[in-house]
Symmetry: D2
Subunit: 263 residues, 4 copies
Amino acid sequence: MCRFLAYRGEPIFLADLVCAPAHSLVHQSLHAVEAKTGTNGDGFGIGWYGERNEPGLYREVRPAWSDENLRSLCDQVRSRLFFAHVRASTGTSTTRSNCHPFTHGRHLFMHNGQIGGYGRIKRRLEALIPDDLYDTRVGTTDSEAIFLLALANGLGADPVAAMARTLKTVRCLMDEAGIDEPFKFTAAFTDGESLFAYRWSCDAKPPTLYFREERGGLLVVSEPIDDKDRGWREVPKGCTLVARAGEAVRVECLNEAMSRLAA
Amino acid sequence: MCRFLAYRGEPIFLADLVCAPAHSLVHQSLHAVEAKTGTNGDGFGIGWYGERNEPGLYREVRPAWSDENLRSLCDQVRSRLFFAHVRASTGTSTTRSNCHPFTHGRHLFMHNGQIGGYGRIKRRLEALIPDDLYDTRVGTTDSEAIFLLALANGLGADPVAAMARTLKTVRCLMDEAGIDEPFKFTAAFTDGESLFAYRWSCDAKPPTLYFREERGGLLVVSEPIDDKDRGWREVPKGCTLVARAGEAVRVECLNEAMSRLAA
Amino acid sequence: MCRFLAYRGEPIFLADLVCAPAHSLVHQSLHAVEAKTGTNGDGFGIGWYGERNEPGLYREVRPAWSDENLRSLCDQVRSRLFFAHVRASTGTSTTRSNCHPFTHGRHLFMHNGQIGGYGRIKRRLEALIPDDLYDTRVGTTDSEAIFLLALANGLGADPVAAMARTLKTVRCLMDEAGIDEPFKFTAAFTDGESLFAYRWSCDAKPPTLYFREERGGLLVVSEPIDDKDRGWREVPKGCTLVARAGEAVRVECLNEAMSRLAA
Amino acid sequence: MCRFLAYRGEPIFLADLVCAPAHSLVHQSLHAVEAKTGTNGDGFGIGWYGERNEPGLYREVRPAWSDENLRSLCDQVRSRLFFAHVRASTGTSTTRSNCHPFTHGRHLFMHNGQIGGYGRIKRRLEALIPDDLYDTRVGTTDSEAIFLLALANGLGADPVAAMARTLKTVRCLMDEAGIDEPFKFTAAFTDGESLFAYRWSCDAKPPTLYFREERGGLLVVSEPIDDKDRGWREVPKGCTLVARAGEAVRVECLNEAMSRLAA
């Protein structure tokens, strides 16, 4: 289980959210409170949008709490949209390629959760990813595989339906393999303009996910970075937070989107 | 193109071959002479047999020439059979998981060469690896994929025939994909007792590979670690050096083994 | 505050103590219980004696819990005397050079604790180290400075008196600088034969330190690696555990040794 | 011997100089031509000025040529003043803290060269650095020691005189210690506005240093990043390139400044 944070709004220094708050993401790398694992020291990453269409990416295998480069970057880089992630590995090795966020063209994706029994469906899952997307796979995580499959399913065009289809597919593979362990999935995705945050699990116990709107900005977090009563709202279980560019933030039912596919 | 070294014989300190000689492998990491790339600074690894059935493994992403840990280990560890490898990446990222040698149970494998156009056959190649072996894949290199496919083809039982079959299969995948770039392959494989070294290429220009026998020991290298006239012999192109435990070292024709498969 | 472990006795695989026990040192890197900081993820190191006079050394900046190399080494290396240390930095940066144990010739040293207000006496402390020893300083920690000063004070010849003198000197520097923060010091030192473990603090609250003798072996730990009632004894505050080669283990009073110097 | 690059002018993406040119600094990390060592793979660093008074800093121990983070940062970060450095160690270990550039408040400094016999004067050199500056020392290189001593000598207020004094002092220490090896020094320094580049050596054979002015910008390099005839001028031996904010670039004699001190 990992911890993450996504921001969209007026350009701010990354440090304002990643490093400065009392319970900042860097602090959570050592002392997370709403996760099964309090320590998230198996690498980290930040992705941000600046002047280019494509996001910048800095990922490292060291713990976030001791990385001077991360501190310096967060102090310098100001962005209107960025992701930050601290990792607690669920088995795959600690390499930069396995750290979140993942990028594809102008898209960013990060994940907290786990496909239960991943090893038993890994090949079948990868086999569903088209060649051109598979060729961009740099690591070995379930998270990256989900991202690539979702891209193949149209994540860029319809982020809710595409993710619903992806989750459903993974769930089917797990059923076929007779896997009992749960599939837990909270994640964030952006194309550099709109922001989507998912909270789902096959056992109705998805990891926590919160959001807060203030001064025109939107903040999405695994757990609050300051006092829980300071305007944080939970993303409901089985739902997607949809923050399209220029539209009001709203919540869509992911379970429903999955049911429609079933029909 | 990488540089490697394999030793079997009386137990010696790894440093005697990896660090001490004038043109040691550590020296080659900075100044290789018979390779297209003089610098082999994209990680390194050593694998050695001690008291366990399974070999020890130390792999790092830093260049070999500046790694204090490597120097200390090579000074301390004495072994009757070990592999050492310095890497020049042909495209995949510099992670420990992509460094050689690779291990599977009591086996070690390392590779110097490249599958031309690998990205275009990667998925099809991986699809040929059985689930249980695929589940042990930790990196993303062509080298590891070849190793796992060869294991599936019976590398442990018949190292020459299994590798011939594997090379042939990769060659077919490349043909089907219309790949013109060559497939170059020099490699070493051991089960902890017998040692095999392959030199093959589809364009008759395989990377160099030498061996020397002295005082009951066998040394196999990408390029000589001391004067070229000190008893080094080339492994002929298209051949395998076969050094079975308790038998005299001999050379077998790999091309012939591949032809037999074709029949 | 860090966690460490020292072993002397029949040669055993490092893994038997560093990785295998329920509350092994690797486990403590993530979940220490008797330390102020539960996470010791700012690098680690092992030092061991094999066939050479000088010990082997493997130090890394990554957390111990995710390091495949550490696991492999501990599985392979069998030693009659070894140190292992997981680090929680008290301010200095996370580089290999700042990881314990430190080595000098055939000696090993590791430390858990802190010189309060170190930055204010660092230069004066370093100025007391003779040139030839100072030239071997590779990092920037207070721990390494203490080690080098103790060596200058005769650590090799009389480990208790030399360390008493060193602690006294540091204490004086702190007094002169008007430092109120405490100086806490638990440490282990060996010349490859005899083993010494120190537990001292200027505020009578030194970090914990335990030892256990069994089957002719001696184990010294920051905190027990298995059930606390399995024969663990505390090293008393202000004392040194003295385990000279060929003699019974005994406890000497460090405070007394310091007082004698005062006279 | 290292390779470096400094830029001041219209804000540009770092990639335009660090990664893109035919003989970019990243290319030089693998294939430098005017240096004794063609490979500069012992870490690297970039420092740049953005919206803060203090520069951003990214330093890593891996070779520049394989670092994805460096590529991404250089693609994203646009700056009006930046330093970039690829390192070939002259003996000190490869840690982030030993990588250039070094920073102090709003200042940046980087160095190519070496104090001959550094180990024999290290302590005396460090003893000349005032406590408050010494407390900021994070590594163990001669380069950082020179920077700190120069700061103590007034580098911020008078960069030519202060560096002259510093070089003279180091030279005296070397003389006293009877050191015959040369002291070679090319370096760059900035306060975020003005830029200074030094080229000096006690044996009249300082490392190369070039500059080029174009479109209002100034570029200073260890060796040209494109064709040598494209407007590159050498900084004369024993001189400082002085590029004060708002003034024309000019060359001042460093040897003369040192002589004045002698008087």
